[in-house]
Structure formats: structure tokens, C-alpha cells
């Protein structure tokens, strides 16, 4: 606890100093790494000990108190937050280097460190007011980071959309905490579990919308695909890897207040997870901006986490320990896993952007030869996010499936049906994710360069390579050491699901054995290949020839053409816009084809809602005459009316 608070203080102090300092990168990143390391040690110790520590200071503000606690759940969320933050800070030193002299970097480090510190505060806060303050500081810090390149109009718009979405969610959270506080008589978390059962359903929905906006559940995810590409890449990694997980943390924490869950909470979570997961990956498939694609994958993975949580809640409601344990274990482990591989992928995308200056996948290609470290680590991340063994993504999805299968045999339809839907949905999501990352990796890293951008690409610097290699190694480590990891995180799972780890099914070690066997086979095959090629000459030729006399890079599959079979299949959801002038005549010239897949929720739902709101409010425009007299008159009349009304 002391170490953690020290770390947070160090982060804030370092960030503030970076604001003034000349060599802000080293100061900001150094303090971030040291602060995260200190906090990380504290969190790992707390989770290993399984005991909770709390600390409290009085606060002047009514209803507020500076109450913090480090229990298993907080410690569990702190580990990915601080770990990924430290790596992203190291990466940021290299990434921001190209802006040095052109832009003030002090503010970036100030806001980065503030973001990290506020995420840690969100997770350990034990008072509603303190939580909301930390939550808003987090939103503001990330808002300013998204707006880093504010001279571009698209970036400004993304930042504003994020800002509005953040406030939309916070509005629900304020009501959520006020209602809880009214029930409990104080805004401290301690009393929140005394909520009347009648209030728990509206509170659950409030938490689902409020925290779901930050997490990026499907109709509320609209800020994600804009904000993640707009932010600097190490910030995208932070936001997508861990910041949206604070939404998941909030939801999980809220569930611990609300008592025994009814089954429909599980159904709701499974429904939300299914929509987010399937639509998220479908929209990812249709994108041709690399970072936007990754942003949609965040929506998908949040969906998978929600599926796991839904299975866990269903298990709690049905009184099935296996269902509850595996559901929650899968969901929580996926939080960490997503932080690892999504962090890795965003850092990789950042390296590509840094080297080529474009995020447009159709201008890239052939980068594996030019950027081997980035390419290989990106491949590892891509395999992990697709849920392929022996990597970490497989383990968490496997846990959720394991739980779901144990529930599928249950006799009651109210458990079996949603669980079966989960199994089907998860399989579909994983399959589509694999297809999507085949596309992303294939188009960006394989083949031949499609444009000038990719020709002159160069490998990223050391500060950028180290975090990527470490994250890739962590993906392997979690995959191979799954039983140990599960045992380590057992206190957190117990706190959420109420199920102890003691009854350990025998299949868990088998995951690790299977993974180890797989790796052995792959390694053996590589050795055999080496032996066979030992005495021979190995030649290189063009990747893709197809019998043409003069094949050119423009003949390769583009990202849209690669994904077309799948996007056509799901055209009902995607509503891809095509602008084309197909070749015609015997000697065709000047043909063109372009696709764009705008977000259906944003275009259909939110645009209309906001236009409607603007229309209604526009009708009230006559009230605004621009005269001070009239405004004072409004105020005076309102006050008088209220006075008369209260005295009547």
C-alpha cells in the first residue's frame, strides 16, 4: 500500500516536473517507470498475500473522504495498468522523439503520468466522491492526450466525441453513486453492500451504461474508433489496453455491492457481450486504417470480457460454482491478456506509423523484411488476440468456454440457452478475429510495398523495440504458465465470484502441457527445416506472381478485397459505402473503387439523436436575445416564482 501510494505520488510529481523541464521525455518517462515499478511491487505483494490493506484521510469536501484500499481485486487490476503503463512510457520516449522541437512534449508527459496515476486511483478509491474525481481526471487527461495533434480537424473532432461520451457515462455514474450513497447513508464504499434489493436492478443498469461507455460496450462504443487512432500510439496502447478496463473494473466492483445477482443480469451481460464481440470484429474486418481496426478489436475483446462476466454472473445466480469460477476467471484473465496483446499491437501499429507515416493499410506491405522485430512481435500479438494456442488469448477464452460447457449440461433452460449462445458466439468471434488479423498482418507485413511510404520504412529504435519484445514474451508466458497464473489470481476471482480455487479440475495443467507440446513440435519442425536446408542454396523470388509477365505491387490483394467475402456475408450490419467506376470498354482506363464503413451506431443512432436534440433546442433560440436585461429578468422571475411556490 505504501509503495503504491509512493508510486502514485512519484508519477504526479514527475509529470508536473516534466511540464517545466527542458528534457521532459526522460523526466516524464523515468518517473513513470519508477512510479509504476514501485506500485507494481506493492500490487503483486498484496495479491500474493491475499490480504487487503486500507488507508483513510479525512477530506474537507462534504461526503468525501480520502479512503483507499488495496484488496485482491484492486491489486489484480493494478498489475496490467501499471505494467503496461511502464512499458508504454518507455516506448513513448522513442515514439515522441520525432516531434521534439516541433511540439511541446512536457504537457504530453504531464498528462500521460496523470492518466496513469488517476487509473491507479480509480482502482483503489473507496469513496464515491474520490472515485468520481479520479474518474474525471482520467477522462480529462486522456482527452488532452487524444488531442495531441490538435492542428488536425479530425483529431479535434475525435477528442470532442470522446469528451462528450465520457460525460454521458459519468452522468450515469454520478446518479449511481448518489443513489448508493442515499441507500447507505454515506459515500464510502464500505456501506454500499447494504442496498435494498428493490434498488439493485436500476443500480445495475445505471452501472452498465455508465461504466459501459468507458469500457466501450456496443452501442456506446462510438468514441473508441475515433479516439484510439487520433491519440499518439503509446497513449492508444494505454487507453485501449488498460483505460477502458477501468470501466470493466467499475462494473465488477459495482456487482460486488449489489448482492446476489438475478439471472437476467447474466443474460444482459451475455447479450451485450455478444453484440459488442460480433459487431466489433465485423467492423474491424471492414476497416482499412490499421489503428481504427485495432480500436474495433478493443470493442470485440470488451465483448468477450462481458461474455465471461455474464457466464460468471449466471453461475452465481444458478448456484453453480464451476460456471461462476470459470466465467469470472476467464473474464478477469482476459482483462490482463487484452492489456498485453492489445498494448503490443498498438505499439506495433505505432512503429509502423512512425516508420511509414501512414495508417492506411493499402499503402503498406512488405514491412516484415524491413522491420523484423515489429513484424514478428505484431504476429505474436495477432495470434494471441485471435485466441490461438499456445498464447495467452487462448487461455482466457478457453476458460470461458470451459465454464460455458459445464453450464450447458445443466438442466434448466434459463442457464443452458444463454451459455450455448455464448459458446457459439465466442467461436464466431474468434474465427472472425483470426480472419481479420490474417488480413491485417498479411496486408501490412507480407507481400510487396504498395507505395512510397512502405519502401523507405526502417526498424523502430531500441526504446520502442524493448517494450514490444517484453509484451510478446509476456503473451507467451501467460499462455505457458496458465496454471500458475490462475493460482496467483485466485484471490481476485474468489472476491468476485465467491468461489474458492480449492476444487481444481484436472484440465488446467493440461492447457500448459498442450501448449508446451505444441511449442516443442514447432521447434522440432524448425530444426528439421534447418537441417534439410543446411547444404543447399536458398534463393529468393517475388512473393506473388500469378503467371503475369510484369507483376506489380498494385496487383496484390488489398485490405478490402481480402475481407470482401466476409464483409459481403455480413453486409446487412456493416452497410459499407462503395464508390466505384468500374472499367468498361475494350481498352478501359481510369477505373476506381473505394469503400468506407462508417460506424452504424454513430451514423444511425447518435447522429439522429443529437440532430433531434439540436432541433428541439433550436426552437428555444428565441429565449437567447443577447440582452443582459432579459437574462437578469429570467433569473429574477425564476427566483420569484420559486419563492412564491415555496411559500404558497
Amino acid at each position: 500500500m505504501n509503495l503504491l501510494l509512493f508510486g502514485i505520488t512519484l508519477l504526479v510529481a514527475g509529470g508536473s516536473a516534466a511540464l517545466l523541464a527542458r528534457r521532459s521525455s526522460w523526466l516524464g518517462a523515468g518517473s513513470a517507470v519508477l512510479g509504476c515499478a514501485a506500485g507494481l511491487i506493492g500490487a503483486v505483494r498484496a495479491l500474493a498475500a491475499g490480504a487487503s490493506e486500507s488507508w483513510r484521510l479525512a477530506w474537507e469536501i462534504p461526503g468525501g473522504s480520502f479512503a483507499v484500499e488495496l484488496d485482491a481485486l484492486s491489486a489484480f487490476f493494478l498489475i496490467p495498468i501499471l505494467g503496461l503503463s511502464a512499458l508504454a512510457a518507455i516506448y513513448g520516449v522513442g515514439y515522441l522523439d520525432s516531434w521534439r522541437g516541433k511540439k511541446a512534449l512536457g504537457p504530453v508527459w504531464f498528462f500521460t503520468n496523470t492518466l496513469i496515476a488517476s487509473m491507479a486511483m480509480v482502482v483503489i478509491a473507496r469513496n464515491g466522491l474520490l472515485f468520481l474525481v479520479a474518474w474525471e481526471v482520467m477522462a480529462l487527461a486522456s482527452f488532452f492526450l487524444v488531442g495531441f495533434e490538435h492542428e488536425k480537424p479530425a483529431v479535434r473532432e475525435a477528442a470532442w466525441v470522446y469528451f462528450v461520451a465520457g460525460h454521458f457515462g459519468t452522468a450515469f455514474l454520478i446518479v449511481f453513486f448518489l443513489l448508493l450513497g442515499r441507500e447507505a447513508g454515506s459515500l464510502d464504499f464500505e456501506g454500499f453492500d447494504r442496498v435494498a434489493p428493490a434498488m439493485s436492478a436500476p443500480l445495475f443498469l445505471m452501472a452498465l451504461v455508465g461504466f459501459g461507455t468507458k469500457a466501450g460496450f456496443m452501442p456506446l462504443h462510438v468514441w473508441l474508433p475515433d479516439a484510439h487512432p487520433a491519440a499518439p500510439s503509446h497513449v492508444s496502447a494505454l487507453m485501449s489496453g488498460v483505460m477502458i478496463k477501468t470501466g470493466i473494473y467499475g462494473l465488477v466492483r459495482a456487482l460486488t455491492f449489489l448482492g446476489a445477482p438475478p439471472p437476467w443480469w447474466g443474460w444482459t451481460l451475455i447479450g451485450v457481450g455478444l453484440v459488442s464481440g460480433v459487431l466489433g470484429v465485423l467492423f474491424a474486418l471492414a476497416q482499412h486504417d490499421l489503428k481504427r481496426l485495432l480500436a474495433y478489436h478493443s470493442v470485440e475483446n470488451i465483448g468477450i470480457i462481458a461474455l465471461g462476466a455474464g457466464v460468471g454472473v449466471l453461475g452465481q445466480a444458478a448456484g453453480s460454482p464451476a460456471l461462476a469460477f470459470f466465467g469470472w476467471a476467464g473474464a478477469l484473465l482476459h482483462v490482463v491478456n487484452h492489456a498485453l496483446f492489445k498494448g503490443l499491437l498498438f505499439l506495433g501499429a505505432g512503429s509502423v506509423l512512425h516508420a511509414t507515416g501512414t495508417r492506411e493499410m493499402d499503402h503498406l506491405g512488405g514491412l516484415l523484411k524491413r522491420m523484423p522485430v515489429t513484424g514478428v512481435t505484431f504476429l505474436i500479438g495477432a495470434a494471441a488476440i485471435s485466441g490461438l494456442p499456445p498464447l495467452n488469448g487462448f487461455v482466457s477464452e478457453f476458460l470461458i468456454l470451459l465454464g460455458a460447457f459445464s453450464g450447458a449440461c445443466s438442466k434448466s433452460a434459463s442457464t443452458a440457452v444463454p451459455v450455448l449462445v455464448t459458446i457459439g458466439g465466442l467461436a464466431l468471434i474468434s474465427g472472425l478475429a483470426a480472419a481479420c488479423f490474417t488480413k491485417a498482418f498479411g496486408v501490412v507485413f507480407l507481400g510487396e510495398p504498395r507505395g512510397e511510404h512502405a519502401h523507405h520504412a526502417h526498424e523502430a529504435g531500441l526504446a520502442m523495440r524493448i517494450p514490444m519484445v517484453l509484451l510478446a514474451a509476456a503473451c507467451f508466458a501467460v499462455g505457458l504458465l496458465a496454471p500458475a497464473v490462475l493460482r496467483f489470481m485466485a484471490p481476485a476471482v474468489k472476491q468476485v465470484s465467491g468461489v474458492d480455487f480449492a476444487g481444481s479440475p484436472s484440465s488446467r495443467p493440461a492447457i500448459a502441457w498442450g501448449a508446451a507440446a505444441f511449442l516443442t513440435v514447432v521447434g522440432g519442425l524448425a530444426l528439421v527445416r534447418r537441417r534439410l536446408l543446411a547444404g543447399r542454396t536458398v534463393g529468393e523470388t517475388v512473393t506473388w506472381d500469378c503467371g503475369y509477365a510484369r507483376p506489380g505491387p498494385r496487383m496484390q490483394y488489398t485490405s478490402s478485397s481480402f475481407a470482401q467475402p466476409l464483409t459481403d456475408l455480413f453486409a446487412t450490419f456493416l452497410r459499407t459505402r462503395r464508390t466505384q467506376s468500374p472499367p468498361s470498354g475494350y481498352f478501359p482506363r481510369n477505373a476506381s473503387y473505394a469503400t468506407e464503413t462508417p460506424d452504424v451506431c454513430r451514423e444511425g443512432l447518435f447522429r439522429n439523436a443529437f440532430l433531434g436534440g439540436a432541433w428541439v433546442l433550436g426552437k428555444l433560440g428565441w429565449l437567447q436575445q443577447g440582452r443582459v436585461h432579459l437574462y437578469v429578468l429570467y433569473i429574477a422571475l425564476t427566483l420569484l416564482a420559486l419563492l412564491m411556490w415555496s411559500l404558497r
Binding site: G621, Q624, Q625, G626, R627, V628, H629, L630, V632, L633, I635, A636, L643, M644, L647
Partner: protein, 214 residues
Amino acid sequence: MSLLIESAMVLLVLTNLTLLGLSRLRSCIRVVAVQGIVLGLLPLAAHADDLAPRIILLAGGTVALKGFVFPWMLLRALRVANVRHEVEPIVGYTLSIVIGIAGFGMSLWVGSRLTIPGAAAPPLVLPVALFTILVGLFVIVSRRKALTQVLGYLVLENGMYAFGIVLVGEIPMLVELGVLLDVFVAVLVMGIAIYHISREYDHIDVDELDALRG
């Protein structure tokens, strides 16, 4: 003692009604100055039995600020701004007085309904304080010149001051000084703003300042 307070209250009502009926800016400022002096002396009347030094200090400070410093600053702004010395009301003088009397009636009604816990106030204080606040608001709403707006805010603050000084009695000195300081700064800023507005736009007519509306 009660006689003193009540005559002060009557003076307040009269200055309020006079302010509504006056057409020249200079006279308006003088009336508000008189009102300020009356108000400044009010604590002396309210605590006539035990005159603590802090009450004398407070009274002296209030009289000096409201009775002399503010009017002097406003008169100076008026001189510097070099505008027509008419009030230019949106609502006419006679109608203003009629509305003022109606407002006084309403204040009396509200005063009879409103009970202030823990204070045995002289009967007229509450309605008159409310009336003064209402007149301040009305002056802000119904007069065009920026300078009359400042006068409106001053009268509004006078109302609140009367309300506090007699009813609550034991407001900490620091709060009172804070309020005085606030108004002082406000009048200063407004005086300067009026001067600059008139220099930029050749008028201090608030009606013309609506270019900023959406």
C-alpha cells in the same frame, strides 16, 4: 432603538421609490449614496445597546465605501464616459414607480409568510430588504445604460446587506468584510469596463452589446 431601525427602513423604501422615478444619472448615483449611508448607520441602530468597536468599524467602513467611494467612482466614470446624462429607461418612470409599489406589496406578503428561524426581527425589516433586492433587480432589467446596471447591483447588494445586518446580527466580521470587498472590486471593475466600453463603442448602452448572441 426599534424607532431608529424603522425610520431607517422607511428611508430605504423612499430612496428605492425615488430611484425608480429619477431621470438623471447623477441624481440616481446620489440617491444610491444616501441609501448606502442609511444602511451603513443601520448596524449602529441595531446594536445601539452594546456598541462594540467592530460594529463601529463596520459602520464606518460601509458608510465610507457606499456613501462616498462608490458614488465618487461612478460619478467619475460618468464624467469620463461623456455620455448623455439621461437614464433612458425601457419601462417609463411612472410605470416604474407603480411596479415598485406593487413589488413592495408583494414583499409585504412574502414577509408575512416567511418565517426566519431564531431571530426576533423588527416587523418591517424583512419586507423592506426583499423590496430593496427586487428594486435592484428591476433597475438592472429595466434600464439601458451600463451605469444603471452597476447601480442596480449596488441596490441589490444593499438589500442583502440590510437583510443580514438586522436579522442575523452575528455575521462574522470576516464575511461582512468579504462582501464589502467583493462589491468594491465589482464596482471598480464595472467602472473601468464602462469607461472602456464607451471609449470603444461611443456609448454605454447595454442594448447595443448583443452582438455576441448565438
